[in-house]
């Protein structure tokens, strides 16, 4: 075992020349999964370098304006869309990855998800029972707990009331948040520092344990010799402009790619179509497409106050969707508001009586691909096609959301579904949602949960990695992000990614 160097973090201003590092393990990507791998390796006493293309953000670096915030924290300025079926999707570029800008939702997938994974993909060790100790550990690491009642705000509590009225299960959202003040600003960065995003929780713990964290460095190639990875190389990049500078290389005994479901396949493809004997790299891309309905209530709800996503219902998981409350900057939420002119302004004027609830769906028939672009850019070409067989799930979800809103006392709802009435004032009017008139192209959906682009499979001919995340083709190359999920999780994926990453890290430690 190599003795760990002193932990440190390096930022753009410190790179003055080309450089080379050595470590037992190099981890590419500081999102929830990469951070957990790095932490566990460092804690076990091994030297580890964590590489992140984005910069670390402090509260005074956050932008409150939604457009400018997305431009700074997201790849492609948050304006990424899929081809095929055009759907917006985002990927963060910052220390902590998506955890800096997500709603901190931490949910364990139900048993049936793992049963499905085990049987379909020959993953005998990936059961809920086997993963539970890892779930326990990562929940403790990032402070997961239920959203407290006093910061729910009206728009979240109305959801609970509606679920109670209809007899649906619901619960306060479990989140990695400690001391939430209900500012509803998860999306642009938590100024209260209550959200335990991994940049303020796991990464500092890893640094304390000896990890070296290099930010503003873009990995462009995985280096290999025969069937072994030997390290990675790339260039320093200036925050926000992306201007490239000094070159670097990190030599390591083990390489872990945790660049995210939409970047890890690109990195493999740009490294000479690495680890792709199965032909599955960049294939099988799945999302949790989300649909949302806005309900307008007779009285002001002060929607600015309250946990961003404070309540959810797992009632319909087996039917393919999960219900949640949702908030984001008005400028982002209102992007879905239909109309223009005075009509649009009238709708905006009602934003203070607004609640938005959404459903994320398991759309197993709708798949896509991740492909590298030309040049050294790691932004992918995403192609994804919404399959008509998945339409009933989303339509049913919209109908259930409509029922919830009217059960909660909404005076009208705005579904955003094209070709249907802009507003529906009663459940009878909302019947049109399930009348069979809705076509896939009528739906306005988006998805930020992405999976399966480097899926794990017990059969090396059908998947990229084994169930410990090790590439079938390379002895010491591991992938640790949601790309390795064989299918979607039915629930928000961050916690599952972290639990799998922790298990992987222990497997790596055992082999070092």
């Amino acid at each position: 075992m190599s003795p760990p160097d002193g932990g440190e973090v390096r930022v753009f201003a410190q790179y003055e020349r080309d450089f080379r590092e050595q470590a037992d393990v190099v981890v590419v990507g500081s999102g929830p999964c990469g951070a957990v791998v790095c932490h566990e390796i460092a804690r076990a006493g091994h030297s580890v370098v964590l590489l992140e293309e984005g910069p670390p953000f402090r509260p005074d670096d956050f932008e409150i304006d939604a457009g400018r915030s997305m431009a700074r924290t997201m790849r492609e300025a948050g304006l990424r869309t899929t081809r095929g079926t055009i759907m917006p999707t985002m990927q963060a570029i910052c220390l902590g990855g998506g955890s800096l800008v997500n709603s901190a939702i931490c949910v364990r997938p139900p048993q049936f998800v793992f049963d499905d994974w085990s049987t379909r993909f020959e993953l005998e060790q990936t059961t809920r029972e086997q993963l539970d100790p890892h779930f326990d550990a990562v929940e403790a690491l990032v402070g997961v707990g239920p959203t407290p009642e006093n910061v729910q705000g009206k728009r979240n509590l109305l959801f609970k009331q509606a679920c109670d009225a209809l007899g649906y299960d619901s619960e306060p959202m479990p989140r990695n948040v400690v001391g939430c003040r209900g500012s509803g600003e998860c999306f642009t960065g938590c100024r209260s520092r209550a959200k335990q995003s991994v940049d303020i929780s796991v990464v500092p713990a890893a640094i304390r344990a000896g990890a070296r964290v290099l930010t503003s460095v873009q990995v462009q190639r995985v280096l290999t010799e025969g069937v072994r990875a030997t390290g990675v190389e790339g260039q320093v990049v200036e925050p926000f402009t992306g201007r490239r500078g000094h070159r670097f290389r990190v030599d390591a005994k083990v390489v872990v790619l945790a660049a995210g479901c939409m970047a890890t396949p690109v990195l493999l493809q740009k490294s000479g179509d690495l680890a792709n004997r199965s032909g599955q790299v960049g294939r099988n891309l799945q999302f949790h497409p989300g649909v949302a309905i806005a309900g307008i209530f007779p009285e002001p709800l002060d929607p600015q106050f309250g946990a961003t996503q404070g309540y959810h219902s797992l009632q319909f998981l087996e039917e393919g969707f999960k219900l949640e409350t949702l908030w984001a900057p008005a400028a982002v939420l209102a992007v879905r508001t239909p109309g223009f002119g005075y009509e649009l302004q009238d709708r905006f004027a009602e934003l203070d009586s607004f609640a938005v609830w959404d459903a994320i769906a398991s759309c197993h028939h709708s798949v896509g691909t991740v492909k590298a672009r030309r040049g050294s850019n790691l932004d992918p070409i995403l192609t994804w096609k919404f399959h008509p067989d998945d339409l009933p799930v989303l339509v049913n979800a919209l109908w259930v959301l409509a029922r919830l809103f009217f059960a909660a006392g909404a005076k009208k709802i705005v579904s955003g579904v094209q070709r249907l009435p802009y507003e529906m004032h009663s459940l009878e009017e909302a019947e049109v949602l399930r009348s069979g008139r809705v076509r896939p192209s009528d739906l306005v959906f988006g998805a930020n949960h992405a999976f399966c682009s480097t899926r794990m499979h017990g059969d090396s001919g059908k998947g990229v990695v084994d169930e410990l995340g090790r590439c079938h083709d390379y002895d010491n190359l591991y992938l640790a992000d949601t790309g390795i999920f064989p299918r979607c999780t039915a629930v928000n994926p961050m916690l599952t990614g972290m639990a799998l990453a922790r298990r992987q890290a222990h497997a790596i430690v055992d082999r070092l």
């Binding site: 973090v9 209900g182 925050p239 002119g341 649009l344 905006f348």
Partner: protein
């Protein structure tokens, strides 16, 4: 000869249509050309007219300035896409003219149409049977909505303006300097670390974030 004349006439028309006749903007922009500023003002008027339910109109929200600031922080490819979107909308009346009698010259540039024609054009885009055309409209509306609803006056009116929040100082703030700074310039030390957030809900009557407070003119 006739062919060349035709080419010259078409070129002259294209130059006139694309570049000429735009007034000089009141203020220089970093990225936006005068034609884009003029288009954005016209689109802002049509999307968020004055006299509606909101306290300010799209023009008063100075959306060209917001878009210009936004373009500054965008990567080149996205900046180009948004500028193409503006160009497409401004010139698409050539192919999708404003409805109405021909004498109203509905094929003029979007910014040259009268208010009623602009509304008709937006309606046609928003309700088009062509999915892509609807999508283009939504993209334009999304960009302008981000600017409009990001404006402090609209957010204050809607009681959605962000509050003033004193951020606790964490271990991470000591480890990471501000973006662009060298760690040696980070004044924070471990002794500056404060108690974490106490979980006290924000005060809805409390002070707003300084950038969103109302300032006397």
């Amino acid at each position: 000869m006739i062919g060349w004349l035709l080419v010259i006439v078409l070129l002259a028309y294209a130059v006139q249509r694309l570049w000429l006749g735009y007034p000089r903007p009141a203020r220089a922009c970093e990225w936006l050309a005068p034609r884009e500023v003029h288009f954005l003002e016209a689109a802002a008027d049509a999307l968020f007219p004055s006299g509606g339910a909101m306290p300010i109109s799209g023009r008063e929200a100075d959306l060209p300035r917001w878009v210009d600031d936004y373009l500054v922080v965008l990567p080149r490819s996205k900046r180009t896409q948004i500028r193409l979107l503006l160009l497409l909308f401004e010139q698409a009346t050539l192919f999708f003219p404003a409805p109405g009698p021909l004498r109203k010259r509905g094929w003029r540039r979007f910014s040259a149409l009268d208010a009623e024609q602009r509304s008709d054009v937006l309606r046609a885009w928003s309700r088009s049977s062509l999915y892509l055309r609807r999508l283009v409209f939504m993209a334009l509306r999304a960009v302008l909505t981000m600017g409009y609803l990001g404006h402090p006056a609209t957010l204050r009116h809607l009681r959605l303006a962000p509050y003033r929040i004193e951020s606790p100082i964490t271990e991470a703030d000591v480890l990471y300097p501000r973006i662009g700074q060298h760690p040696d310039d980070n004044p924070l030390t471990p002794s500056d670390i404060t108690a974490p957030s106490d979980g006290v809900p924000i005060d809805l009557d409390g002070p707003l974030h300084p950038d969103y407070e109302e300032h006397p003119l």
